[in-house]
């Protein structure tokens, strides 16, 4: 499965279902249906301002990153979705079943859905989409990996499609719930990559009208829409006439534009603007942490000094994280003690492992042989200083997080660690990781479900992909952990699966391989006239199908 780590922008796939309560917090003036004065009215165009990079292709099959997922959710539907409990729910597929050997999945499809170009949605269309994702010429990264275990797709009837797997995949439904595997019109795909990138054709509530590069994408309502996910608040077409999707890279001007009413919704809201918005009565805050892994600092056990577990524990005991999160994030981020996002029901936390204790840290380092200190106060062993390389991606770590790392650097010094922070652009950062030239790293990873643990902590993840990328940055290599993660990815019983993932997370936490910080932050601010917008409980992208504008 895949990855998608990437800039605040590229994160990837998902998997399994499972569940959890998604923390969708609508603050402020979000109206809920049923309240007096909150009957949705149709009409109006919503302006969305994205701080993520502008996609280079609107078809999320190609490449497959978070900016693509953000916008694709407005014009493409997936086979399944997931609700806030973490249960997989119907979308374009109404029901599904798996064979006893877990190798064959049958999906029953809605029979009255049409793509916006008039092509009928049916089993053949699903087959074409899977083949499109698996074709190297499509240049898919995220969707390709998500469907890695799918060997072939067979049309059983017009409304029944069968997926045949090479090995059992307990994450298949979660993979199919993600926008990177959404279903597009076969006729649209047949136009070729260039045209399909410009305006992919789906069955979604809106369709792409025009894409003016570096400026905006115009989306207009699909008047014939009839295929919302099972947890939508209404049937039929969307309330909005359309969405003007703009790209506003600067966070201060994005917030200023929202305040001025020039735009209705902004993403990538920064902690200071969230705090400011919460003091107003005119802006609402939508906190939608991303699924998959939590944001955590990984300790590279693949080289000295962190190949010694005592040194890893000493580092975790030495650094003070909570004060920094408190002061730098203005209460918008909650400390995590788990490898998984708080929206994953299978997440396991152990706060007791992460208490700060400088004496304990010093004792651990002394016993590990780092007994001397040099003139600068850093510990030394055999003439070598206790130095830690910490490359930081400026694309993935927001300014508040970079400041947090500086505070960690300062508190680690008390125990005698020298932390060398280097701020790098994305390509250089991946370059340093590929050369194994790091001891600490923070690398977000978005994916639906706990199967993300297998990607991040199975020893297979240390082997680089052809591009040089590898996902197991903490370089954990533990046969017991590998076995747990492999069986969890193949088991069909939900409870047994959850138990296996719990054991796996215990090994990761108790081995001091990671320092969890908080969920992957994903904050939206909404102007007061926007009602009933929500984030999809799959990869936490906003959906405007139920949304409407008051005062139209």
């Amino acid at each position: 499965m895949h990855i998608a780590p990437h800039s605040r922008a590229r994160r990837g796939l998902a998997t399994v279902a499972a569940a959890t309560g998604v923390a969708l917090l609508f603050a402020g003036c979000q109206a809920t249906p049923g309240e007096s004065g909150s009957t949705p009215v149709a009409g109006g165009t919503l302006t969305y301002a994205s701080g993520d990079a502008e996609p280079t292709c609107l078809d999320p099959h190609v490449g497959g990153n978070y900016p693509q997922a953000l916008i694709a959710g407005q014009f493409l539907d997936s086979l399944v979705s997931r609700n806030t409990d973490g249960t997989i729910i119907p979308w374009l597929a109404t029901e599904w079943s798996v064979s006893d050997d877990n190798l064959s999945w049958d999906f029953t499809l809605k029979d009255d859905v049409t793509f916006t170009d008039g092509t009928p949605f049916n089993a053949e269309a699903v087959k074409v989409n899977v083949e499109h994702l698996k074709d190297p010429a499509t240049e898919s990264s995220t969707g390709y990996l998500a469907l890695g275990k799918v060997e072939s797709v067979e049309v059983v009837s017009d409304t029944v499609v069968r997926f045949s797997l090479s090995t059992p995949d307990s994450a298949l439904l979660e993979s199919l719930s993600q926008p990177w595997t959404a279903i597009e019109s076969p006729a649209g795909i047949a136009r070729g990559m260039e045209e399909n990138c410009q305006a992919p054709i789906g069955t979604g509530p809106f369709l792409v009208d025009e894409w003016v590069k570096q400026d905006h994408v115009s989306l207009v309502r699909n008047e014939d829409y009839n295929s919302p996910p099972a947890d939508a608040k209404h049937d039929g077409k969307a309330y909005l006439d359309g969405i003007e999707w703009r790209f506003l890279p600067d966070s201060a001007s994005r917030y200023a534009a929202l305040q001025a009413g020039q735009v209705d919704v902004i993403d990538n809201a920064q902690p200071d603007t969230i705090a400011a918005a919460e003091k107003t009565s005119t802006l609402a805050h939508l906190d939608a942490p991303r699924p998959g892994a939590s944001n955590r600092i990984e300790l590279n056990a693949g080289r000295s000094p962190f190949n010694d577990p005592a040194v890893r524990e000493a580092f975790i005991r030495a650094v003070d994280v909570n004060d920094g999160i408190e002061s730098l994030f203005f209460g918008s981020a909650k400390r995590s003690y788990s490898p998984l996002s708080s929206i994953e029901a299978t997440g396991y936390s152990d706060e007791s492992l992460f208490g700060t204790d400088l004496d304990e840290a010093n004792a651990l380092l002394d016993s590990a042989g780092w007994t001397e200190r040099d003139a600068d106060g850093y510990r030394v062993k055999d003439g070598e200083r206790l130095s830690l390389a910490f490359p930081v991606s400026t694309n993935q770590s927001i300014p508040a997080e970079q400041s947090l790392f500086e505070q960690i650097q300062a508190t680690a010094k008390d125990a005698g660690f020298e932390v060398n922070l280097s701020l790098l652009d994305l390509s250089s950062w991946y370059g340093v990781l590929g050369e194994n030239n790091y001891d600490l790293v923070s690398a977000p990873y978005t994916k639906v479900g706990p199967d993300v643990l297998r990607i991040l902590y199975h020893s297979d993840g240390i082997i680089p992909a052809p591009s040089g990328y590898f996902a197991n940055h903490s370089q954990v290599s533990d046969p017991e952990l590998d076995a747990l993660l492999t069986s969890a990815s193949e088991i069909s019983d939900e409870d047994e699966r959850a138990a296996l993932y719990e054991q796996a997370q215990k090994i990761i936490l108790e081995g001091f391989h990671i320092l969890p910080l908080y969920d992957q932050q994903n904050h939206f601010l909404l102007g007061t006239r926007v009602k009933d917008a929500r984030a999809l409980p799959t990869v936490s992208t906003p959906t405007f199908y139920d949304a409407w504008l008051s005062g139209q």
């Binding site: 240049e139 570096q214 020039q262």
Partner: protein, 330 residues
């Protein structure tokens, strides 16, 4: 003024020849600069870490399979030796083909054609506004006594030192968030052009005003001004009709440099105000290692810069006979 040999025929002919030679030298220089820029860009972007094949696949960190990577390297000729890739790129440039963007998969010339308008409008508007501010400031500060001179000098130095990103944020805070007069983010309307223009124009006006004020002060002491005063011209008339014209000459020749300065400032300003344009295109392309776009933008900016330099040079030669005749003097 130069005594010169105007009027004699051989001198005229040789001046025409010199004009053509001047043009040829300029043209040769321009081609050399473009080649050097293309070559430097081609190799520089490969020296920084990052695989251009990943730009095609949606950015760095891609988990693309070997088949996919091979397909892309073959499609874009990235599997060939670097020297061959360089010669291929140069060959394409000679035929006027800027290539196809790795990330956006569209011809670079189409992309730049769509973006250059926005940047040129912004740069020229900012240049005009900067000129206007500089003129008013220098005339006022040289004519208003010691206090005005000190204040004027202070304004020039401060504004010349303002960083664009800071000025943009302050202007947004004042005119959008507080006063609500102007949109913080660019729109297609003229109102959307105001803040980006001011952000670029204010620091530039500081530079230009400094140059103008110094020349203006020097000129006001020149003998021809003294004689104008003696003829009974008013102080204002002297300033506007005589001194300012002279004071403008160095600022005119600075305008070529200024345009380069404005286009580089556009990277910041276009990003903050979310204006479509070359600056934003360049920033995104560098991040993605999109070699053809980076090369295209750099070449285009070099070309604009060269044209502006040639035009201001020619304009100065036309405006100031001293320059034309200088070479003729023994």
């Amino acid at each position: 003024m130069t005594p010169g040999s105007a009027g004699s025929r051989p001198a005229q002919r040789s001046r025409g020849f010199r004009g053509i030679r001047w043009l040829l030298v300029r043209l040769g220089g321009a081609i050399f600069v473009l080649w050097a820029v293309a070559t430097l860009t081609f190799f520089a972007i490969r020296l920084i870490p990052g695989d251009p094949a990943e730009a095609v696949l949606g950015g760095p960190g891609s988990q693309a399979s070997q088949e996919t990577l091979d397909q892309v390297r073959q499609d874009y000729g990235l599997d060939l030796p670097l020297a061959v890739q360089y010669l291929n790129a140069l060959g394409r440039l000679l035929t006027g083909d800027l290539g196809t963007s790795y990330a956006l998969k569209v011809p670079v010339s189409d992309l730049l054609g769509a973006q250059i308008g926005g940047t040129l409008v912004l740069a020229f508007t900012a240049l005009c506004v900067a000129w206007l501010i500089a003129l008013l400031l220098s005339v006022w500060s040289t004519g208003g006594g010691r206090v005005a001179a000190a204040v004027g000098q202070g304004i020039e130095l401060t504004s010349a030192a303002l960083p664009h990103f800071w000025l943009a944020t302050v202007l947004i805070a004042i005119f959008s968030s507080t006063l609500g007069w102007l949109p913080p983010v660019s729109t297609a309307t003229p109102a959307g052009l105001v803040l980006p223009t001011l952000t670029l124009a204010i620091p530039l006006a500081g530079f230009l005003a400094q140059v103008m004020r110094e020349t203006l002060l020097d000129t006001l002491d020149a003998p021809f001004i003294v004689s104008a005063r003696a003829r009974g011209e008013s102080e204002r008339g002297i300033r506007l009709r005589h001194a300012l014209r002279h004071a403008s000459l160095p600022a005119i020749s600075l305008s070529g440099w200024a345009l380069g300065y404005l286009i580089s400032g556009a990277v910041v300003v276009e990003t903050i105000f979310a204006r479509p344009g070359l600056g934003r295109t360049l920033l995104q392309a560098v991040t993605l290692r999109d070699v053809p776009i980076v090369t295209g933008v750099v070449l285009l900016v070099a070309l604009v810069y060269i044209i502006m330099t040639v035009v201001t040079d020619a304009a100065s030669r036309l405006a100031d006979p001293r320059l034309r005749n200088a070479e003729a003097q023994p």
